[in-house]
Point group: C2
């Protein structure tokens, strides 16, 4: 597995792969790999000749009060795990390589970014779309892989790719969960034992909403009441947002008519966790739908 | 010469050229070709195996009070001229092809765009960088060609390409002029006979400044005074801006120490014309310098 820190090195690697007519799969990450990341890499490996993974904790997508400095990092472990999955190249640029002096260009998706995490984290998605546009231009992948856990991010990136005619396909992969349902996240490491227990409330509340929809409840206010009550039952949990919005435009909904995204951001102590599910009144709501809509 | 209106057609053409390992030169235009456009195409033809030209009057870069609807168009003449120069493919998308319903992504360069035409035409450069990013992703050129007449545009696009790691080279080509010095522009067609005569004042004032620099004048305020006096001598002319700024960052200058950009925007009647020259105290200020700095 090639490990490189400069844009020119990874470009050289990609150029050689292209010259051999190999397809390139790309998984952009912030590192500190868990099963969710590894699943993205395995999916890329299945569908593409060559897999490139980037590890870059992107300062542009963190707010001034957020956890950029504390964000967990373990490069040696990440390297070992990526090699085990069969990743071909790991791109780990330092911040100066990505944002040289005088850097002043941004890519921004309007609309979709003005709700959910876009409200709680101003500038976050602008940071995400800017770095992802850069990484796409550096790696020139045929396919790039994103997790459904960051559903809004996946929708925003799909919109950017469509609007700017970027020549690649975005593949969204279902959320990978711990045995008790907690969505895998690098931030789960922040949770103390009592908090880890409390964090189960996110998944429980998503499941309650799914069950209510299966039972015929289509009223968004009533569905959200079920979710909020469940979360309120957990003293360590505080809701940042709990909303049901349309797919793929994330518009407010009063009633479920087609598939809707139930998205949560909940603080457990100081740790902000997100999770989501697609509520699909017409259908069992399995992973196939996630691929279609997110 | 292939003429196509859809993204999928021009992509098919480009894919075939790439499969033959041909290099691709690209000239994005708004059509109504003059010798300036044709020079860009000839330069592309010299350096690249295949030349693609786009004609797209981009609504996103016109302000609400500007001349989007009046902007001159003559597709049949453009087609003939491009074919004569040896252009291989002409891409002429309708507006809906470039901006489908729900379009909501923009590319924006800060700093460089907050002066000169960026102040006179709010949103103009955001429209330019957005459409150029799209066209680059569609055509995937090795080199793209821009005229020095739109010096700020060329600097902004170079910055975008550098900041977003777009995999191509930007080539800037010196301004092509009428025999009396007026810079070629599609908008020159708006000028009545008296206005056409008055429009010569832009070039005359640039030349006066160049001569003053050759004579040792380095003080920016005094150089601009020379320019403004000359323009004021022409009753039909009204200055929008006349400034000398640093290259490539377009920062204000008090004294010329290295090369500086003298940039003008002048209204002749209702027609707004721009022109510029590079004032280079160390040197004769020929075309070679334009290539280096703009």
């Amino acid at each position: 597995m090639l490990v490189c820190r400069t844009i020119s090195e990874i470009r050289g690697f990609v150029r050689q792969a292209r010259a051999r007519s190999q397809t390139i799969g790309f998984v952009p990450t912030m590192g500190y790999f868990h099963e969710g990341h590894l699943t993205l890499m395995r999916e890329a490996k299945k569908a593409c000749d060559v897999v490139v993974v980037s590890i870059f904790v992107n300062p542009l997508q963190f707010g001034p009060q957020e956890d950029f400095n504390e964000y967990p990092r373990d490069f040696e472990r990440d390297k070992r795990l990526a090699a085990e999955v069969g990743v071909d190249a790991l791109f780990t640029p330092p911040v100066e390589e990505m944002y040289p002096a005088g850097f002043s260009t941004h890519v921004e998706v309007a609309g979709l970014t003005q709700c959910l995490c876009g409200l709680s984290r101003p500038g976050h998605f602008r940071g995400v779309t800017t770095v992802v546009a850069k990484l796409f231009n550096i790696v020139l992948p045929d396919r790039a892989y994103f997790g459904q856990k960051d559903a809004q991010q996946a929708l925003v990136i799909k919109r950017m790719v469509r609007d700017l005619n970027m020549p690649l396909e975005i593949v969204t992969v279902p959320t990978v969960r711990e045995p008790d349902g907690l969505a895998m996240s690098s931030r789960n490491v922040y949770l103390g034992p009592r908090e880890r227990e409390a964090a189960r409330v996110l998944y429980r509340s998503l499941k309650l909403a799914e069950r209510a929809v299966a039972g015929g409840e289509m009223d968004v206010a009533r569905l959200l009441e079920i979710v909020r009550q469940e979360i309120a039952s957990e003293p360590l949990a505080q809701i940042d947002y709990a909303e049901i919005r349309s797919l793929p435009d994330l518009e407010p909904l009063a009633r479920l008519q087609g598939p809707g995204l139930l998205a949560l951001a909940v603080r457990i102590g100081k740790t902000r966790l997100i999770d989501n599910t697609i509520l699909n009144p017409g259908n069992s709501g399995g992973a196939g739908d996630a691929f279609n809509y997110v």
